[in-house]
């Protein structure tokens, strides 16, 4: 018995990363799904447009070249699910102004620092002498605060439901340990509200009347936190099927097959492809933490889309002393800044235009000098088209 146990332990320790992803990137499986989709798609009455809401999906779809495997009557519309892309200039300016303050360290997540606001990006602020740091985990901010007790640390919090619990964990520790030098500038946004905006909005900023979204590919990691329940209204109320999918190419291909089948079989449902991680209810502990510290802001402005009701979080008023927007209210500008006039990101996000149809795509607007939200990060639709091209 002992020997057997030992062998099993050593087998586990020999488990390689490859074993975890190989099946999800298996060429034969991918090609198999491509064949099945092709067969199934022949029965479609009209072409369908599938929006992948999440930037992670956009990245996978472009990186693995999946559109090349799909028949012409299945199109992707690349959604607004890239948290740095949709950050409006006003809020990046806030970060820039806060970073420029003396004895202050501005901390944020990775690719946020390259997105330009009206004054420049946080990278530019750093080049001018501001102390801007990026962390991989928000909790690393604690170490920075500990090592710099005489400085104010401002955590510029960004991201969808996936990263929100990490910020609230940091808040939780800051409060429980009574740490005095960490403040928060909250820019967390939520997926379902912007999905509604894209298909149903009729306000002065956005008119989604002509949107061409037929179905949604639901985000992977957002759904791990929220559960699939947040999408239930889309098939029921808005007539759009949703399939929650993983990020690997096999996941995406399988989810597309599931969507096409729904159309052919006359169904309109919420289904989960990413069953290995997503449940209906999601991560309840993470949800409770969010509930504890955050409440919805009545409006959050999205770059490229304008103000979207109930789509962003803010700190509850009892934590105002941690809220950089309140603490530094006097120096943070409140005026709105218009998006670039020629930018058509809003239309791209609603599936009404493709990146190449934009007059400034690849000329004035490039990944190094992005003018609109979709070019800002590698997860944005325009940046993905620019980087990976549309080779066939």
């Amino acid at each position: 018995m002992m020997t057997t146990a030992k062998i099993e332990v050593s087998k586990v320790s020999e488990l390689q990363l490859k074993d975890l992803y190989d099946g999800f990137r298996n060429p034969e499986v991918i090609q198999g799904f491509a064949k099945l989709i092709k067969e199934e798609a022949k029965k479609l009455e009209k072409p369908i447009n599938i929006m992948e809401v999440c930037g992670g999906h956009t990245h996978s779809i472009m990186k693995f070249g999946l559109p090349q495997l799909l028949p012409k009557n299945i199109n992707f519309i690349h959604g607004p699910g890239c948290p740095v892309c949709i950050m409006p200039k006003e809020r990046i300016d806030h970060a820039y102004i806060l970073a420029e303050l003396e004895d202050t360290i501005l901390v944020t997540l990775g690719d946020m620092i390259k997105v330009p606001g009206s004054k420049g990006s946080l990278q530019d602020a750093r080049a001018k002498g501001a102390d801007v740091r990026f962390v991989y985990s928000p909790l690393d901010t604690l170490k920075i605060a500990q090592e710099n007790p005489d400085k104010k640390i401002i955590f510029f919090a960004i991201g969808f439901e996936t990263t929100t619990p990490m910020t609230t964990s940091l808040i939780d520790i800051v409060i429980k340990k009574g740490i005095k030098n960490i403040f928060f500038h909250i820019n967390h946004v939520t997926v379902p509200e912007v999905m509604v905006e894209l298909i149903d909005s009729r306000d002065e900023h956005v008119d989604s009347y002509n949107n061409r979204i037929d179905a949604f590919l639901g985000p992977s990691h957002v759904s791990v936190i929220t559960g699939s329940k947040i999408y239930e209204k889309f098939p029921k109320k808005y007539g759009r099927p949703v399939v929650v999918a993983g990020f690997e190419p096999v996941d995406v291909m399988e989810a597309i097959l599931m969507i096409v089948k729904q159309f052919n079989e006359g169904r309109c449902e919420l289904e989960i492809e990413y069953k290995r991680l997503v449940s209906r209810d999601g991560n309840l502990k993470a949800q409770a933490l969010i509930e504890k510290y955050f409440e919805k802001a009545s409006l959050f402005k999205w770059r490229g889309l304008g103000n979207v009701p109930q789509s962003g979080y803010k700190l509850k008023s009892e934590y105002a002393y941690l809220d950089a927007e309140k603490v530094y209210a006097e120096i943070l500008p409140k005026e709105e800044i218009e998006d670039h006039k020629l930018c058509i990101c809003g239309d791209i996000l609603r599936g009404m235009a493709k990146p190449q149809e934009c007059t400034i795509f690849g000329t004035a607007c490039k990944p190094q000098t992005p003018l609109g939200s979709c070019m800002v990060s590698s997860e944005g639709a325009c940046a993905a088209y620019y980087k990976y091209g549309n080779l066939i």
């Binding site: 491509a34 990245h59 620092i113 969808f160 980087k387």
Partner: protein, 332 residues
Amino acid sequence: MNKQITLAMGNGGEENNELISKIFYKAFQNDILEKSEDAAVIHGGELAFSTDSFTVSPLFFPGADIGKLAVCGTCNDLAMMGAKPKYLTCSVIIEEGFSTRDLEKIVRSMKKELEVNGAIVVSGDTKVVPRGSVDKIFINTTGIGEIQKKGISSNNISQEDVILVSRDIGRHGATIFAAREGIELSSTLESDCASLTHQVQALIEAGVNITALRDATRGGVSAVLNEWAKQSNICIEVQEDSIPVSQEVYGICEMLGFEALNLANEGTFVLAVKKEDEQKALEVLHGFENSNNAVTIADVTQQYEQRVILLSSYGTKRFLDTPTGELLPRIC
């Protein structure tokens, strides 16, 4: 161009190229410089001449340190022109307060690596600057090497060549990234930092018909292939699944959203050799521990001029571009 110099301008990618061409090439313009080779070929094609400055954080990292890096870097640039490194200069800028013991340790690594290359330091300079003026220590080395095989150039690659890589890619970049502050990753990964002189000499001695060599430092293999595609006016078609990537590097890339092709190497080189010599080149490389997993990764075609294409194993393709921007982890 930006009004201020940003970190992205030193990434070995597109912004870096812009900085070099718009400021330095514009001012220094001459035929030798404009060839954009790893080392300048001078003195009637007899000598290779190159310089490189080194700054790395942390100074001591798994697999090497800044001293070894400073010797390998310049010697490898010489080797990439088919030259045998002979004479180096060594110039250091040290921050006030730096540990003498660490300095000795760094210089010892340099000595050891010079011996590996059969080269000597014949001139040097030291500056000590006030605290905060530099990050601990910056080292510049400049080297002269004797060219053993003439005509190696990144401007002459054609459809008669195949493209090889000398070993698994991305180790140095992944190691440094995992070791940097704010990224608390523990791994057994070591930098690939090593001198390439012996491999190159062996290839030359075996009579391999080498068209071009380039060590895939900043900007990684992506940058090399894109530079070659432009300089030789060719299309390079890479078989994605043939590119050797270690499990550790792959893991770091998956987690942080990087591509191994964009990560820096310090002892890995890309080769363009004539098709008929492909096997001979691989045999020579397989005789060295540092290149025993050398492999052919790409063909040269004319399909998309000056572009690099990645072909997947399931029948899709995409452009591989020169890396842009500062290396930053993706958010989710």
